[in-house]
Amino acid sequence: MSTQAETGAKGFSLGALARRPETGTVIGLIVVYTFFAVMGGPVFMGAPGWSSWLNIAAEVGIIALPVGLLMISGDFDMSVGAIIPASSMMAAILCGHYDLPAIVGIVGGLGVGLLVGFVNGLVVTRTTIPSLIATIGVMFAVMGLTLGFAVLIKGSTSVSYVPDPLTKSILGQFINGMFNVSILWWAGFVALFFWFLHLSPIGNWVYALGGDQESARNAGVPTNKLKISLFMMSGFCAAFVGVAQVMTYQQAQVAGGQSFIFNSIMCVVIGGVLLTGGAGSVVGIVLGTMTFAIVNQGIFFASLDPNVGSIIIGVLLLVAVLSNDTFRALALSYATKKK
């Protein structure tokens, strides 16, 4: 037994590494990158390639982080697809239509996200409606409200706004004309979420909530407050992307954002988060997001038929879930096989 303790204490061994749940995702990422590097050639491996997939990764990644946390805690958030246009519309109407300062638009847009997240949280905690359905309901309601107000106030389904240079440089600039500044924001969000989930004591509650809600509540975790906070986080992050889109593209549309619903969930699942909750990591979510973005953009560089890209993403998703299950089974069998 003492030898076992020693190997455990060293903290690094190939076997332990193979049992990390992220291992499957890393292998997937390497395979996918290599494939598109070969197909896409030097352009894909150079700055144009990196910027194109990083830009995509940053946008979907900022949303995938809280969506992943929600999934770890056992819930889904489908409403992100409606929050993005709602918040960008709010920002564009406040600043572009009413000519208020940019900060008002930003706060207003983010406020929309927090509010919708709060409503999601309330519906999920106060009723027995599963979050998947509850947030779809909220999504449609928000979509309707966005369209209704946009037409009522502006008489149009799109509102344009030209941000001042400072706002533009913070939220919507392309560094070197290629790299969207949102990549840096993504990095910031990653650090924040990593700290929250893996280092702060509250992160433990997220896993407990996803593992067994009843036991978590009995252990003294304020499960309802935690759930509402998590929904507000995802609302906030989706709104952040919405607001950043206005600053980048100088226009807000009532439609759009739908693709983020499935894309964010795919990033999270490819990243090894368990659909039923209780397991997952921020590193995994980031790796999953990168994998997704590389496939998403690699197709153009490899000049493949976009339909082939959809097939690759679909297959990738299935393989990811299968391999995640395998690695999880390995991790669980670890203790029982030792003796």
Binding site: P201, N204, Y207, G211, G278, A331, A335
Partner: protein
């Protein structure tokens, strides 16, 4: 022991959900260092009773006393703070969390300063492993392992060790042996004994009479929400207890009935022959 004030006492406790009376006039006492076995068939009101003790439900009528003083639990947390801990059938643990992390859910140890406090993984793991090993489960030696990798008995033991570590005085075990094999169950029973030796009051819910007899000092049988029997160790035989649990119905009659149906189904000729006799 009889002259001591019981840790936990129920006086004339009733619980109704709307027009449905689930518990009626329950009087029970549990002392420190005693195992009370709560027996009863499915739907007898065992779950309601322990949920009332754990603060999930408040009694419709009647009093709960701790150390002789009346207490009111409005939520599970209240009961926990008074030292009443419930361990559920599957251990109430989280299969995909590490041993250290799951041990400290809700009371995470931290290190660091102010808003930058971080979860102290090392302390959590060390404390959790030591607490379980103190209960004789020496196989658990790495706090980073996932709870799901443990056997059912070990998970129960972990949950019990956790409750004891956090100062439980009354341990409510909700069917801890129901899903376990013989060997695993004896594991858990040993730990129940260990908890008792440490001076805890244990309320052990089961419908396996053998398990109850192995560790119990005091037995209470619930039938349709009423206390049908309340006796100390040695006062009743195993058969009597089994009969009581089956709703007072004579077990032998039941057995004969089932056997009768069985033979009727499979060998009518034999039955007819025996009837002719």
């Amino acid at each position: 022991m009889a002259d001591q004030t019981p840790i936990l006492e129920l006086q004339h406790v009733d619980k109704s959900f709307g027009p449905i009376d689930v518990l009626g006039d329950i009087n029970l006492k549990v002392h420190a260092g005693e195992v009370l076995c709560l027996l009863g068939d499915n739907g007898a009101g065992k779950s309601t009773l322990i949920k009332t003790l754990a603060g999930v439900y408040t009694p419709t009528r009647g009093k709960i006393l701790m150390d002789g003083k009346e207490v009111h639990f409005t939520r599970p947390r209240d009961a926990q703070e008074m030292g009443i801990s419930t361990v559920h059938q599957f251990g109430g643990t989280f299969p995909l969390m590490s041993i250290g992390r799951s041990f400290f859910v809700g009371v995470e140890p931290t290190k660091g300063w102010g808003p930058f406090k971080v979860f102290d993984r090392k302390t959590a793991n060390d404390v959790a492993v030591k607490a379980v090993q103190d209960f004789g489960i020496t196989r658990i030696d790495d706090g980073d392992r996932l709870v799901g990798g443990l056997s059912g008995g070990e998970r129960q033991s972990l949950a019990i060790a956790r409750a004891v570590h956090f100062g439980a005085r009354v341990l409510i075990l909700d069917e801890p042996t129901a899903a376990l094999g013989v060997k695993q169950a004896s594991h858990v029973l040993r730990i129940v004994n260990e908890a008792k030796k440490r001076g805890l009051a244990v309320i052990f819910i089961t419908h396996q009479v053998m398990h109850a007899l192995a560790v119990g000092d005091h037995f209470a049988v619930l039938i349709r929400g009423r206390l049908a029997a309340n006796f100390m160790k040695g006062e009743k035989s195993r058969e009597e207890i089994t009969d009581l649990m089956a709703g007072g119905e004579d077990m032998a009659t039941l057995e004969a009935q089932i056997a009768g149906e069985d033979t009727e189904l499979h060998s009518p000729a034999h039955v007819r022959a025996s009837q002719a006799e």
